[in-house]
C-alpha cells in the first residue's frame, strides 16, 4: 500500500497531494497537472517541503521526523516515459544494472521477468536497435529486477503509437495482475487507467481532487470535467455465464441483469470488467419494442448533472452497479427524467476492459 500526504513547490508550481492506494494505483490528470512532479517527489528526485510518504509501512519521507531517504535507498522501480535505457550497455546489462551497479539482490528471478515481458530474443541487442515498445518492456524489466518495493510507471505508453501500445498492453495486464508490489501508474489516458488499475487518484492543477476505486471515481462528476465529456464512462464488473456460439455472443451477469457481448474470448465463470461509455447509453421510460439493441436493462436514475450545454449526464443504478448515460437536456425535460425514476437503459456497445479482474481491495 502506498500512502502519500505531501506539499511542495518546484519553481512556481505548487503541489499538494494526499492519497492512499492498494494494488495498482492510477495517477490520472491532464498534462501539466503535476503528475511528474508528484512522482519525482515520491521517487526522491525532488524534495517536498512538508508531509510524509510511506510504502507498505516503510517511511521514505517524513518532514516532521527529518526522514528523507536518498533516491538509491528508496527501492522504487521507476519506469520513465522515455525509457532511459543506458545506450552503451546491452539489453542484458541494462536489465542486470541494479545487481552489478546498485548492489541490489532482487527478489525476482531474472528468467521469470524475461519471460513475463518477452525479452528473451532481445538480450544481446543494444537499446538503439529496439523499437519504442521493446524499449519500454526492457525499462519495465530493469525496474522490476531492482527488487523494488514500489513500481512507478510514468506514462510508459505516451511516446508510443497506437499499434505499439496495443503490443505492450497485454504485458502490462499480466504485470499488474502478477506483480506482488504496489504499482503507481501515471497516465492521462482514461482508457489505460480503467483497464489497469484498482485505485484512481485524480490530480488537477497540482492538487489531488479525490481518490477511490476506479468504479467509484468514474461515477464522479469532477472526473468527467477532467477527462472531457466524450470519455465519460462507467465500469461494471460481472461474471461470464454462457458462451452463445450460435450467435457468437458472450453472456455476462452483472448482478441480476445479463449483458450480451459480441465475440469475447472468455471462459464461463471468468470474472470480467467492462467499460461502458456514457455516449453509448440511451434511456427509455417504457421498455421499447422492435429494437436492434440487445442490451436493454431496467435501471433507476440516481442523479442528473449538467445544467448548461446541450447534454446532461445521468447516473443510473443497475442492480447495485452504476452506469452513465449521456442524453440531451431537452430529452431529460421531455421525458420527465428525475432521480428515483425507473427507466430502461439501452446499451449500444460495451468495451471489455480486462479479462481477469483482480479482487478490488477495500479503499
Amino acid at each position: 500500500m502506498i500512502d502519500v500526504d505531501i506539499r511542495g513547490r518546484v519553481g512556481r508550481f505548487d503541489l499538494a497531494a494526499r492519497f492512499e492506494g492498494h494494488g495498482v494505483t492510477a495517477l490520472f490528470g491532464q498534462s501539466g497537472a503535476g503528475k511528474s512532479t508528484l512522482t519525482n517527489m515520491i521517487a526522491g528526485l525532488v524534495t517536498p517541503s512538508s508531509g510524509r510518504i510511506s510504502v507498505d509501512g516503510t517511511i521514505l519521507f517524513d518532514a516532521d521526523k527529518g526522514i528523507d531517504l536518498p533516491v538509491q535507498a528508496r527501492r522504487i522501480g521507476h519506469v520513465f516515459q522515455d525509457a532511459r535505457l543506458f545506450p552503451h550497455l546491452s539489453v542484458r546489462a541494462n536489465l542486470t544494472y541494479a545487481r552489478w551497479a546498485g548492489r541490489r539482490s532482487g527478489t525476482r528471478d531474472f528468467g521469470e521477468v524475461v519471460d513475463l515481458l518477452g525479452l528473451t530474443a532481445l538480450l544481446s541487442r543494444k537499446p538503439e536497435t529496439l523499437s519504442g515498445g521493446e524499449r519500454q518492456r526492457v525499462a519495465i524489466g530493469r525496474a522490476l529486477l531492482s527488487g523494488p518495493r514500489l513500481l512507478i510507471m510514468d506514462e510508459p505508453l505516451a511516446n508510443l503509437d497506437h499499434a505499439r501500445r496495443n503490443d505492450i498492453l497485454p504485458y502490462l495486464d499480466r504485470l499488474c495482475v502478477e506483480a506482488a508490489i504496489p504499482i503507481l501508474y501515471v497516465s492521462h489516458s482514461i482508457e489505460e487507467v480503467t483497464r489497469l488499475s484498482n485505485t484512481l487518484v485524480l490530480l488537477s492543477q497540482g492538487k489531488t481532487l479525490a481518490f477511490g476505486t476506479v468504479a467509484d471515481m468514474l461515477a464522479r462528476e469532477d472526473l468527467v470535467r477532467v477527462t472531457g465529456r466524450r470519455e465519460a464512462s462507467a465500469l461494471v464488473s460481472g461474471t461470464v455465464t454462457r458462451i452463445d456460439s450460435d450467435w457468437d455472443l458472450t453472456h455476462v451477469d452483472i448482478g441480476g441483469a445479463v449483458l450480451q457481448i459480441p465475440g469475447m474470448a472468455a471462459e464461463p465463470g471468468a470474472p470480467v470488467r467492462l467499460r461502458i461509455l456514457a455516449r453509448d447509453v440511451a434511456l427509455a421510460t417504457v421498455p421499447p419494442q422492435g429494437l436492434s439493441i440487445r442490451n436493454a436493462l431496467a435501471a433507476t436514475i440516481e442523479s442528473i448533472a449538467g445544467e448548461t450545454g446541450p447534454y446532461a449526464e445521468i447516473l443510473c443504478n443497475l442492480g447495485g452497479q452504476r452506469i452513465r448515460a449521456r442524453v440531451t437536456r431537452a430529452s431529460v425535460s421531455d421525458l420527465g427524467l428525475q432521480p428515483g425514476r425507473s427507466v430502461t437503459a439501452l446499451i449500444k456497445s460495451v468495451a471489455i476492459d480486462r479479462g481477469q479482474d483482480t479482487p478490488a481491495p477495500p479503499v
Binding site: A43, V71, Q72, R84, F86, H88, R103, E128, S146
Partner: protein
C-alpha cells in the same frame, strides 16, 4: 653517419618529449575530466571565473603563462617554496617543470571537448541509474563516464599533441637544458639558432612529424574500436 640512425642527443630529446607529454597527460587528464564535469553539470558561484581561469592559457601569450609559472613555482615563488619545503618537490629547471608547463598549456584543450561530451549525456540517465540503487559516484562511473569516452579520448589526443609541441611556456619557465628540459621543440629551436644546424633541424622535424603521424594513426584505430564497442551511436 647513417641518416636513419638517431644520434644520442636526438634520442634524448625524443624520449624526454614523450616522458614530459605522458606525465602532463597523466596528471592533467583526470583533473580535466573533473573540471569538465563540474562545469557541465553544476551552476555554482564562481562558475564563470573557473571557466575563464581554465581557458586563460589558451588566450595568454605562452611566454606570459611561462613567466607566471616561474613566479609561482620557481624556488622563490610561493607555491614552489611551499612544495619544496613540505614535500621536497621542485619544478625549477627540471623535466617535472616542463611537464607542468605542458600540462597547464594543454589543460583548456582537454577540458573543452570533454565538457561538450558530458553535456551531451542526458542527466536523466544518472537519475535512472540512481533509481536502480547506484550511488552518485557509481552512476557517474558506469553511465556518464563511459558515454563521454569519445570526448575524453579527443581531449586526451589534443592535450598530448599540445604537450608534445609546447614551446613558449616551457622555455620561459624551465629554460632549455639538454637532457632535462630540452624537448624536441626546444632542440629544434636550438638547431635553428646554431650556424650550419640546418641538417639537424631537418632531422628533428622528420622525427616530430613521424611521432605525430604514428600517434594520429594509433588514436584513429583506438577510436574506431571504441565506437564499435559503444554501439556506433556516438560520433
Amino acid at each position: 653517419m647513417d641518416f636513419f640512425h638517431l644520434q644520442p642527443a636526438e634520442w634524448q630529446a625524443l624520449l624526454l618529449t614523450l616522458k614530459v607529454a605522458a606525465a602532463a597527460l597523466l596528471v592533467a587528464l583526470p583533473l580535466a575530466v573533473l573540471v569538465a564535469y563540474l562545469l557541465a553539470r553544476y551552476r555554482f558561484p564562481g562558475h564563470g571565473i573557473v571557466n575563464a581561469l581554465v581557458h586563460m592559457p589558451l588566450v595568454l601569450p605562452p611566454v606570459v603563462t611561462g613567466y607566471l609559472l616561474l613566479l609561482a613555482f620557481g624556488r622563490k615563488g610561493p607555491a614552489g617554496a611551499f612544495l619544496f619545503d613540505t614535500f621536497g618537490i621542485s619544478f625549477a629547471f627540471n623535466w617535472a617543470g616542463a611537464a607542468l608547463a605542458a600540462g597547464v598549456m594543454a589543460f583548456p584543450l582537454m577540458v573543452r571537448p570533454i565538457r561538450i561530451s558530458f553535456e551531451a549525456v542526458d542527466p536523466k540517465l544518472e537519475a535512472a541509474a540512481r533509481s536502480l540503487g547506484a550511488h552518485r559516484m557509481v552512476a557517474f562511473l558506469t553511465v556518464t563516464l563511459p558515454l563521454a569516452v569519445p570526448g575524453i579520448l579527443g581531449g586526451a589526443i589534443l592535450g598530448f599533441a599540445k604537450a608534445m609541441g609546447e614551446f613558449g611556456a616551457t622555455i620561459t619557465f624551465v629554460s632549455n637544458i639538454p637532457g632535462e628540459t630540452r624537448t624536441l621543440a626546444l632542440a629544434l629551436y636550438t638547431a635553428t639558432q646554431t650556424p650550419s644546424g640546418d641538417l639537424a633541424a631537418f632531422r628533428l622535424t622528420l622525427i616530430a612529424a613521424a611521432v605525430a603521424f604514428v600517434a594520429l594513426i594509433a588514436s584513429e584505430i583506438f577510436a574506431r574500436r571504441l565506437r564499435g564497442r559503444l554501439g556506433g551511436g556516438h560520433d
